[in-house]
């Protein structure tokens, strides 16, 4: 009985030992191993970023850009439909710009026509020659001013220039002429009577 007990204790001891040995072996095996399954040592090359600009991603970008362009023309289309639906141009009421006596030859007067935000310029080119244009530059809408020295309308933003007699662009980026305001002289004053529309 005594002997049996002793053996049992011993056995329990050796089981413990075996267990520890096992654990140690396992640990060692783990430490000996390469931590990755593959053996071509490419795991540290990040392919993710590489795919950011491959052919497919580039094509995706192009499709996205096409979408942006499609959406960006929508408002213009809507405005055009509105313009068509509005039909012809309704006549703007005449507006008294200035007295002839207040405008020496070679000078310009500012006014707004037809709306109060459509700024325009009246230029007295000679004794009896008047011209008026809406003076938002046809390039990017900077206000154009009258330069007496250069004898033309000048846009300060990108050095655009317009002929004061026709409104046609003569230099710089603008492509369209300035919209001309039609004028009438009456009783020593100049009146704006309408905006001339493009014929082309």
């Amino acid at each position: 009985m005594d002997k049996d007990q002793d053996q049992e204790v011993q056995c329990a001891e050796c089981v413990k030992q075996k267990h520890i040995q096992n654990l140690q072996q396992k640990q060692q095996r783990k430490n000996d191993q390469i931590p990755f399954e593959e053996n071509n040592y490419t795991h540290n090359i990040r392919k993710g970023d590489e795919r950011l600009l491959d052919r497919r991603a580039f094509m995706k970008t192009m499709v996205g850009a096409a979408g942006v362009f499609a959406v960006s023309t929508l408002p213009w289309g809507a405005l055009a439909v509105k313009g068509l639906a509005g039909g012809g141009h309704q006549d703007d009421p005449p507006l008294r710009i200035t007295d002839i006596a207040d405008l020496p030859v070679g000078e310009a007067a500012k006014f707004a026509y037809p709306g109060k935000h459509d700024s325009a310029l009246l230029i007295r080119l000679s004794e009896n020659e008047y011209k008026a244009y809406q003076n938002a530059c046809t390039h990017l809408k900077c206000p154009v001013f009258w330069s007496k020295e250069k004898d033309e309308l000048v846009c300060p933003c990108h050095h655009g220039a317009f002929d004061a007699r026709t409104g046609k662009p003569t230099a710089g980026p603008p492509q369209r002429p300035l919209p001309e305001v039609l004028l009438r002289q009456e009783g020593g004053a100049v009146y704006a009577t309408g905006v001339k529309h493009y014929e082309t």
């Binding site: 052919r55 497919r56 580039f58 094509m59 995706k60 192009m62 499709v63 850009a65 096409a66 979408g67 362009f69 499609a70 960006s72 023309t73 929508l74 213009w76 289309g77 405005l79 055009a80 439909v81 313009g83 068509l84 046809t138 492509q175 369209r176 529309h197 493009y198 082309t200």
Partner: protein, 62 residues
């Protein structure tokens, strides 16, 4: 590795047409040619599904 660049080239053309149409539409608007504005805008919008179809067809070509 030989690749097919057809999709890339086609999409470049589509985008180029997009740019032209946008520019033309804006210009036509200021010249008050409303009908052409609508034409250009419509064409621009149609180009988008076209671009997407090209992408779908060319995506998996090696």
């Amino acid at each position: 590795m030989k690749r097919s660049w057809r999709g890339v080239i086609l999409l470049c053309i589509v985008l180029f047409l997009n740019i032209i149409c946008t520019q033309k539409a804006v210009n036509a608007y200021y010249f008050e040619h409303y009908r052409s504005v609508i034409m250009y805008a419509l064409f621009n919008i149609l180009l988008f599904p076209a671009a997407y179809l090209i992408y779908r067809r060319e995506r998996d070509v090696r």
